[in-house]
C-alpha cells in the first residue's frame, strides 16, 4: 500500500530558533495520527508546514494525488497546492472563525467550497449543504443564518461540514475541540469518529488533550522543543510511555 502522505525530514526555523525539525513519518489511508505536546513544542508549526500554510525550510511532504500519484507538495506550484487544499485536503482550525466566512450564511459557507471545485447548480449545492448540516447535527432551518448567530460548538461543526463536503482524503485539525465545554467536546468527538470511519478519512490532529487523542487517534507522535521524542500506537504511548517527557505528560493529566 502506498502511504497517503510521506513526510521526510521536515524542518521549519524562525531565525535561529527551531520551530520543528527532523520530522519524518508515513501516514496511510484511513489512519488518524495525533500530535501531542505542550504549548510551544512545535506541533502547530509542524501542522501548518505540512498543510502548506507555512513553507518548510527543509524536507519533503509527499502526497499521493489522485491524478499523478505521489507528488512533493512543498515544490508544487501555488495553484496546484491551492487546488489540493480545496479538494483532497481540509483544514479544521481551532477557532471556527478562522475557517469560516462569518458574513456568509451557513449554507453559503458549505456551498462555497463546492463552487470552488466547479459546482454551479444552485439547487444541487443547497441540497448538499442541507444534507451536511444534518450530518453535523445543525437544524436545516438554520441554513440561511450567519455563523455569527451560532454557538461556539455549532460554529465548529459548521466548519467541519464546510471542510468535508468535497470529500477530502486528508484532514488537518488544529485543536478541533479546544475552547469548547466538555459536553460539546464529547458530541464533536463522537461526530468526528463517525465521519472518519464512514468516509475512510486520514487525519492529523494536533492537540494537547490526551483524552481526545485516545478516542480519535490510531497512533501518536509526541513533540518537545520542536522534535519528535516518541511515536507509536496511541494506547501503547499513553499506557506505557517510554520517553521521560511523555511519562511526565501522561502523569500530569488530572483524573476526574
Amino acid at each position: 500500500m502506498t502511504p497517503l502522505l510521506q513526510v521526510q525530514n521536515v524542518a521549519k526555523f524562525y531565525g535561529a530558533r527551531i520551530g520543528c525539525t527532523d520530522v519524518s513519518f508515513d501516514l496511510y489511508p484511513g489512519e488518524v495520527m495525533g500530535i501531542v505536546g505542550e504549548s510551544g513544542s512545535g506541533k502547530s508549526t509542524l501542522l501548518n508546514s505540512l498543510a502548506g500554510h507555512l513553507p518548510p525550510d527543509q524536507g519533503e511532504v509527499i502526497f499521493d494525488t489522485r491524478a499523478n500519484g505521489p507528488v512533493d507538495t512543498v515544490t508544487m506550484s501555488e495553484p496546484e497546492r491551492r487546488m489540493l487544499s480545496r479538494t483532497d485536503w481540509a483544514f479544521v482550525h481551532q477557532h471556527a472563525r478562522d475557517g469560516l466566512r462569518m458574513s456568509v450564511s451557513a449554507g453559503g459557507n458549505i456551498g462555497e467550497r463546492l463552487m470552488a471545485v466547479g459546482d454551479r447548480h444552485y439547487g444541487g449545492i443547497r441540497a448538499q449543504a442541507a444534507d451536511w448540516l444534518g450530518r453535523v447535527e445543525i437544524s436545516e432551518s438554520r441554513i440561511d443564518d450567519r455563523p455569527s448567530a451560532f454557538s461556539g460548538g455549532m460554529q465548529q461543526r459548521l466548519q467541519i461540514a464546510r471542510n468535508l463536503v468535497t470529500g477530502p482524503r486528508l484532514v488537518f485539525m488544529d485543536e478541533p475541540t479546544g475552547g469548547l465545554d466538555v459536553s460539546v467536546q464529547a458530541r464533536l468527538l463522537d461526530l468526528l469518529r463517525g465521519l472518519v470511519r464512514e468516509m475512510g478519512l486520514s487525519a492529523i490532529i494536533v492537540t494537547h488533550d490526551l483524552a481526545v487523542v485516545r478516542l480519535l487517534a490510531d497512533r501518536l507522535m509526541v513533540m518537545k522543543d520542536g522534535r519528535v521524542v516518541e511515536t507509536g500506537l496511541t494506547d501503547q504511548v499513553l499506557d506505557d510511555p517510554q520517553h521521560g517527557y511523555t511519562q511526565l505528560l501522561v502523569s500530569s493529566v488530572l483524573q476526574v
Binding site: 496511510y28 489512519e31 464529547a186 458530541r187 468527538l189 463522537d190 469518529r193 470511519r197 478516542l215 490510531d218 497512533r219 507509536g232 500506537l233 496511541t234 494506547d235 501503547q236 499506557d239 506505557d240 517510554q242 520517553h243 521521560g244 511519562q247 511526565l248 502523569s251
Partner: protein, 228 residues
C-alpha cells in the same frame, strides 16, 4: 499456534523518578493453539494483566517475540497491530472505556462494523448478546457511562464476543457477575473455543477456571530473578 510468546521480558523505566528501572517479567514463553483456553495464575501483582497487555500491544515488550497469528506484536507497526486487533485479536479488559454519548447497542456492535458487517446485522448480533447477558432493553439506547459497574462489565463482555475473534484475551471476565450471568459468560467462552478461538484468560473464580481452562500457566515463573 495462534499465540506464541518467546523469551519475552518487560521492564518499566521511570525517567522522572531517578530513572528507576523496574523489571516485571523475564523469559515469558507460552503458546496457545486454536480451540484451547489457557488460564493465567499467580498472586495479585504477579504480572497476569501485564502479560496480557504485552500480547495486546498495549505494553511494549523489552525483548523477545510476541507472535499472534504470524504478526510479531513486539515489533509491528501501529497499523499492523490495529489490523490484528480488528480482525484477529480481541481483548476484554476489566474496565469499559467508551466515547461518551454512544449507545450501549452501538458500543457492542462496533467491532462488527469495524470488519465491515452491515449495520442492521451488527445491531441484531449486539442486541442478542445484550439480551443473553441480561442488560434490560430499555438501557440499550443509553450510553454505558451511566451504567452500574456490573452492567458495564457485561457490556464489555458482549463487545468482546460480538465478533468471532480467532484469538481472545479475557481479563477476569467473570468477576463481579452473579451466578446466572457467570454461566452465560462461561457458555460464550465455550462457544468461542468450539469455533476454534485461542483464548488466554485470568479467572479468580475456581469453578469458572476449572470449567473452561484446558491448562494453566503460573506467571510467577516469569518473575525476574531478584539480584542477590
Amino acid at each position: 499456534m495462534m499465540i506464541e510468546l518467546n523469551n519475552v521480558s518487560k521492564s518499566f523505566t521511570l525517567h522522572n523518578q531517578g530513572s528507576a528501572v523496574i523489571p516485571v517479567m523475564e523469559n515469558a514463553t507460552l503458546s496457545v493453539k486454536p480451540g484451547e483456553c489457557v488460564g493465567l495464575t499467580g498472586a495479585s501483582g504477579a504480572g497476569k494483566s501485564t502479560l496480557m497487555r504485552v500480547i495486546y500491544g498495549n505494553y511494549l515488550a523489552a525483548s523477545g517475540s510476541v507472535m499472534v497469528d504470524g504478526v510479531d506484536v513486539a515489533k509491528a507497526e501501529p497499523r499492523e497491530i490495529l489490523t490484528l486487533r480488528g480482525e484477529t485479536l480481541g481483548y476484554v479488559s476489566q474496565f469499559l472505556r467508551v466515547v461518551p454519548r454512544v449507545p450501549a447497542l452501538d458500543v457492542v456492535a462496533e467491532p462488527l462494523l469495524a470488519v465491515g458487517t452491515p449495520l442492521e446485522q451488527a445491531r441484531d448480533t449486539a442486541a442478542s448478546l445484550l439480551a443473553q447477558l441480561n442488560i434490560p432493553e430499555r438501557l440499550w439506547n443509553l450510553s454505558p457511562t451511566t451504567f452500574s459497574g456490573g452492567e458495564q462489565q457485561r457490556v464489555n463482555i458482549a463487545r468482546g464476543f460480538a465478533y468471532g475473534y480467532p484469538a481472545l484475551l479475557l481479563d477476569e471476565p467473570t468477576a463481579s457477575l452473579d451466578a446466572q450471568n457467570r454461566a452465560t459468560v462461561l457458555g460464550l467462552i465455550e462457544g468461542a473455543k468450539a469455533r476454534g478461538a485461542a483464548i488466554i484468560g485470568i479467572f479468580h473464580d475456581e469453578t469458572a477456571r476449572q470449567q473452561v481452562c484446558d491448562r494453566f500457566v503460573d506467571v510467577s515463573g516469569f518473575a525476574p530473578q531478584a539480584a542477590a
